[in-house]
């Protein structure tokens, strides 16, 4: 079975490009060029040099001793939190800004939820001297104020989005509208493995550096390049896609995707797409999404802005449907508790998104000799107030 994308832009039944004609030229330009650009030697050189010298890759694969002892299994953390700007998001924005440059674009738009993708986009725009406009839901602007400040200081323009649930989904709509309004000079840097083909594939390829590094790092540490489990949280699914990428077709490696169950999967305030969603179209892609019987998209909820999205990328829809990945839903409270536990056991403050992955130990037992790699997708500096308020510290 094939878990990566096929030549038509689909992962099994999922994917494609369900876009209005207004976006056809942009998407087509990208589709025709992305693989060509990504395989040009000068692109590869520039991309790799920036990943190394600017982003700080390779990110370490850290054996979490105290956490491993606590749960009596072998836990490695893939330290994407140590990347420049503090999350995996920058792997993708570095890649896309280089693509945009080669496509002759000079204006960049992006959506953001947690603000990490917005910061990562504002960062590469500063680096490449491009105009940067970031769409962000008003709810997220409040709960991720720190990242808003960072974007401003980096020179980006932030446009508050007031429609819908005023979160990531709505910011994405607004970014797409901007792109329709600026079809020639603008590149839209999508922040996850969502959107019309070729975005899911392009973003997954840029994030694939994560699993590529895990392979040799684990070889160094454990004498084997395959862990038993790779575990990642899934909002749109880009950090998971990157962590799974080189293991997709290798079924010795079990994949676990962790979704946000908000106040409880069936509480009406949740973002657990795999359980609550079914097949449909969101943001140009056929995938799983949370929707009414009528096909209206449901407003999701999660304490973490980056998982507060009613869909998942088409790769993940296929991993779910095929059973290739196991999906686990984690509530706000479970995530917060697991996040705080990591702080106090390992001295690492994880993003609340990431904290969801760390909470799987409540739901699943592992064997003492199991080798787990948890993708530590981002640091929690943006979430300090949420932690402080949640635990009344």
């Amino acid at each position: 079975m094939q878990y990566n994308i096929n030549e038509n832009g689909y992962y099994g039944d999922f994917g494609g490009a369900y876009i209005p004609e207004m976006l056809y030229p942009n998407i087509e330009e990208l589709r025709q060029n992305y693989l060509k650009i990504m395989t040009e030697p000068d692109f590869i050189t520039e991309f790799n040099a920036l990943l190394k010298d600017y982003v700080g890759r390779p990110s370490p694969l850290y054996f979490a001793k105290r956490l491993s002892t606590r749960y009596n299994t072998k836990i490695y953390l893939k330290r994407e939190d140590l990347n420049h700007t503090g999350a995996h998001k920058i792997n993708n924005t570095i890649g896309q800004i280089l693509v945009a440059k080669r496509l002759g674009k000079n204006r960049i738009i992006a959506e953001t939820g947690a603000g990490q993708h917005g910061v990562a986009t504002a960062t590469v725009c500063a680096l490449m001297n491009m105009e940067c406009i970031v769409y962000m839901g008003e709810v997220d602007i409040v709960r991720q104020a720190q990242n808003v400040a960072r974007m401003k200081i980096l020179g980006a323009k932030i446009v508050p989005v007031l429609s819908g649930s005023k979160t990531l989904k709505d910011a994405t709509n607004e970014a797409i509208r901007d792109w329709i309004n600026h079809p020639v000079d603008t590149h839209y840097i999508i922040g996850s493995v969502v959107g019309p083909h070729p975005y899911p594939d392009m973003v997954a390829r840029f994030q694939a550096v994560i699993s590529k590094e895990i392979q040799w790092q684990l070889q160094e540490k454990e004498g084997r390049s395959n862990p038993d489990y790779v575990i990642a949280c899934v909002g749109g699914g880009s950090n998971a896609a990157g962590a799974y990428y080189h293991y997709l077709e290798n079924t010795d490696v079990k994949l676990i995707a962790v979704e946000a169950a908000g106040k409880g999967v069936y509480s009406g305030e949740s973002a657990a797409t795999s359980i609550l969603g079914n097949e449909g179209i969101i943001h140009g892609s056929k995938t799983l999404l949370m929707q009414t019987q009528d096909g209206q998209i449901v407003e999701p909820y999660s304490i973490s802005a980056g998982l507060d999205y009613p869909g998942v990328g088409p790769m993940h829809a296929n991993l779910f449907k095929s059973g290739r990945a196991e999906f686990i839903a984690i509530t706000d409270d479970q995530a917060m508790t697991a996040g705080l536990e990591l702080c106090q056991l390992e001295g690492i403050i994880p993003a609340i998104e990431t904290s969801h992955s760390l909470a799987i130990f409540n739901q699943k037992k592992f064997k003492p000799n199991d080798v787990l790699v948890i993708n530590l997708s981002g640091r929690g500096d943006k979430d300090l107030n949420t932690f402080i308020n949640h635990f009344k510290l």
């Binding site: 429609s163 079809p183 096909g295």
Partner: protein, 258 residues
């Protein structure tokens, strides 16, 4: 022959009006349609509201959101359209995003449209290629015309391709913009209109986006078979309600001080 094709053959410039079903009030659908026909409109696009209308500007977004809040749904819209053909004769097109149609079931949806006397569909986020591969047969089976869009950025090759696939008319988007953008046309648009005119496509074009009044309607229809008004009409509905429809249409059709 499909009512759209019949209408196209009439020797006149066509005025088409878009509205969001269920707005301003849930039960306005039928009376808006009747008023539009009575006011002399040539064609109607009934908007099936969607929670996330990503090709639409604020006006249509808000009317969709309100319509959904009012309780509009696919089933209800069909319910409201029952018997519409006993009085209304002009072409009726449903315009909606693909996901609600997909959830209803594309075949069921088409079957229902056919039964109600709907003539065509505009589904902005159903790409031509997917349509052809998966849905064209169903549409044709139910005698529904699927309307395709072109924009100022559409390449010549693709315009010819779309022309070939099109029945009824081509929805010619006036400028690179979501709906409800600045109204009025500059040189760029006029050049684009002329460029398309010169291509002498087999399918007539109806221009949409940015048409709001007599002047823009006139300008657009100088170069095309007709023009579509959406956001401007919804704004008028918001201000003046269903009873103001006749005045609004008169202003479009007749030069006068506004």
């Amino acid at each position: 022959m499909n009512r759209i094709n019949q209408k196209i053959q009439e020797n006149k410039k066509l005025l088409s009006i878009y509205f969001s079903a269920g707005y301003p009030n849930l039960e306005d659908t039928k009376s808006i349609i009747k008023n539009l026909e009575a006011s002399g409109v040539d064609m109607i696009e009934i908007g099936l509201p969607f929670s996330d209308p990503l090709a639409d500007g604020e006006t249509i977004q808000q009317s969709s959101t309100q319509a959904l809040k009012n309780g509009m749904s696919t089933a209800l819209l069909f319910e409201q359209l029952k018997g519409i053909r006993s009085t209304v004769t002009i072409p009726l097109i449903i315009m909606g995003y693909f996901n609600p149609i997909l959830q209803y079931g594309v075949a069921d949806f088409c079957k229902k449209c056919h039964a109600l006397g709907i003539d065509g569909l505009i589904i902005p986020d159903l790409p031509l290629a997917v349509y052809q591969e998966q849905y064209q047969k169903i549409f044709e089976h139910y005698g529904l015309i699927n309307i395709f869009l072109i924009t100022p950025q559409t390449t010549v090759e693709r315009i010819h391709h779309i022309d070939k696939q099109s029945k009824g008319f081509i929805y010619m988007v006036s400028s690179a913009s979501v709906t409800g953008g600045k109204s009025g046309f500059g040189n760029v648009q006029i050049d684009y209109f002329k460029r398309i005119e010169k291509m002498r496509l087999k399918t007539p074009q109806i221009i949409g986006f940015g048409i709001a009044d007599y002047l823009t309607f006139k300008l657009a229809t100088n170069h095309a078979k007709g023009a579509i008004i959406g956001s401007a009409f919804i704004k008028a509905l918001t201000s003046n309600g269903v009873t103001g429809i006749e005045d609004f249409i008169n202003q479009i059709k007749n030069e006068q001080n506004t």
